[in-house]
């Protein structure tokens, strides 16, 4: 069940995370797979999910790959659609992300290998409170 609590008048979070949905068993995957990892059906159609979710865990990477600006944040977000995604976030030292926080994940680009890049942002419900 989608439990996002949007204030009246706010637009619903966009169905912004692109992937594929299996026509046979309904599993949604990001990125769109060549076949469904659950039932192996090749009938996977392009689809999108809302990015509303809850932080499972988060960290700030302070020492890491040389080709990335440090520090950067990484989080596992459990989407309301019961899919876990990893997403990056801009570090705010004063307000580190913590498990249980409501967030909105959005797609912000593609990697060199063509993979969707996801980012964690504040959830509209948090902005209203």
């Amino acid at each position: 069940m989608n439990d996002r609590a949007l204030p009246a008048g706010e637009p619903a979070a966009e169905a912004a995370l692109h992937g594929g949905r299996c026509s046979q068993c309904g599993l949604f995957s990001i990125p769109k797979p060549v076949c469904c990892p659950a039932c192996m059906s090749q009938e996977v159609t392009t689809d999108a999910l809302a990015g509303d979710g809850t932080i499972y865990s988060a960290t700030i990477v302070r020492s890491g790959p040389r080709n990335r600006k440090l520090p950067y944040g990484l989080a596992y977000v459990d989407l309301d659609a019961e899919i876990r995604v990893m997403a990056a976030y801009a570090v705010d030292e004063a307000q580190p992300l913590e498990p249980g926080q409501r967030v909105l994940v959005s797609q912000v680009g593609e990697s060199e290998a063509g993979l969707p890049l996801l980012s964690v942002g504040a959830h509209p419900s948090a902005a209203a409170s």
Binding site: I30, T59, R62, G64, R68
Partner: protein, 378 residues
């Protein structure tokens, strides 16, 4: 089915940087043959493990000693590569395919230039900047949050393991550290600091896996392989509990069943402390303490060499070092030495049952790519 035993072990001291991986492997093989007095012609087959060793590493090592001309297998399974090679050797011996199999596991991570190991750029988590320290840091953050603990509670793993490693002549780090030093070391991925991360290392370790009969004929000191399990992580993109990794849970359950033992029978365990939090989680998964009690188990000294079960008496990955593909065999070598009562100052008193555990790899959708567990006993 033949009974498989380990009948000799030799680990080349793990170091920050060495000159050549073939030399490392050759030193381990030569050291093993010298210590066991086994002649080259008694070896039926060789399984060589490495992650970054390149093509035909086993043959390149063995040709230095004119040991090719027999079946040689080269295997890779991330950090579980060495233990996977041992598992294949055990299977060959049990099935009768071979009587004496030499396992050599070698890694020269210094060739990669240091820092976190590179992951597959076509993996969606790696594309976001995921590195192994971040993966374990998120386990740690979740575990601390769920259990109301502080970073110091898990950082104590490094203090214990550095103390154990100070007693181990093959360990890369042989100097104890204090809790303050661990917490004040360079931040890597919150809440993990540098001294809570296993160091990239170069090293090689070799063991001899034989049938019980072959070991007797060769006059070797043997410990029985009670169980040898390799499994892989199950893919799932739904939320999963990262403080209760299912790949280890399944491998451990299978290993206990195969050996006919339970956690209370284990005298020492070499576990995959790639990062401090991992050892805490494995106390719980291995059944040494209840869920959520791992940090308390550590704080009470129950995982020390003189505790209920000595966990990582070698110093573990954090102190011995982590030349990834070599680690699983080094763990088995430590277990062998402990069960033969040859572990010197770090000897676990009266050790008769040892367990080794490694996990391998970070790919999206599985909690670890591979896991291997062995139980040895005398």
């Amino acid at each position: 089915m033949a009974v498989a035993v380990i009948a000799g072990a030799h680990t080349v001291p793990f170091v920050k940087e060495s000159t050549h991986q073939v030399d490392l492997g050759a030193s381990a093989v030569r050291g093993l043959l010298e210590s066991t007095k086994v002649t080259r012609d008694a070896v039926d087959a060789v399984v060589s493990a490495s992650v970054a060793g390149g093509s035909l590493l086993g043959q390149r090592i063995l040709s230095r000693m004119s040991m090719t001309g027999i079946p040689v297998y080269n295997v890779e399974n991330a950090c579980a590569s060495g233990a996977t090679a041992a598992n294949l050797a055990v299977g060959m011996v049990r099935s009768g395919q071979a009587r004496t199999v030499l396992v050599v596991a070698t890694e020269r991570l210094s060739a990669l230039g240091g820092g976190a190991l590179p992951l597959d750029p076509t993996d969606i988590e790696a594309a976001h900047g995921a590195i192994m320290p971040a993966s374990y840091a998120m386990r740690a953050a979740r575990y601390l949050w769920e259990n109301g603990l502080k970073p110091a509670d898990i950082a104590m793993v490094s203090v214990k393991n550095r103390e154990n490693g100070s007693l181990n002549p093959v360990a890369r780090f042989q100097k104890p550290v204090t809790l303050d030093e661990v917490l004040a070391s360079t931040p890597i991925c919150d809440p993990l600091t540098l001294l809570q991360c296993s160091p990239n290392s170069d090293g090689s370790s070799a063991i001899l896996v034989c049938s019980e009969a072959a070991a007797r004929e060769l006059g070797l000191d043997a410990v029985e392989v009670k169980s040898s399990v390799v499994t892989s992580g199950v893919f799932m993109n739904a939320p999963r509990d990262l403080t209760w990794p299912d790949v280890t849970l399944r491998a451990v359950k299978e290993a206990y069943e195969e050996a006919g033992i339970g956690p209370g029978d284990v005298d020492l365990a070499e576990v995959h402390d790639a990062f401090s939090i991992a050892e805490i989680l494995y106390y719980e998964i291995l059944g040494f303490c209840d869920r959520g009690q791992g940090a308390r188990f550590l704080a009470e000294g129950r995982s020390r060499i003189d505790g209920d079960v000595a966990v990582n008496p070698s110093g573990g990955l954090i102190s011995r070092g982590h030349p990834v593909g070599a680690t699983g065999v080094a763990q088995l070598a430590e277990a062998y030495e402990q069960l033969k009562g040859r572990a010197g100052q770090r000897q676990v008193p009266g050790a008769s049952v040892a367990l080794t555990h490694v996990t391998g790899g970070g790919i999206s959708g599985v909690d670890n790519g591979a896991c291997a567990v062995h139980v040895l006993a005398v």
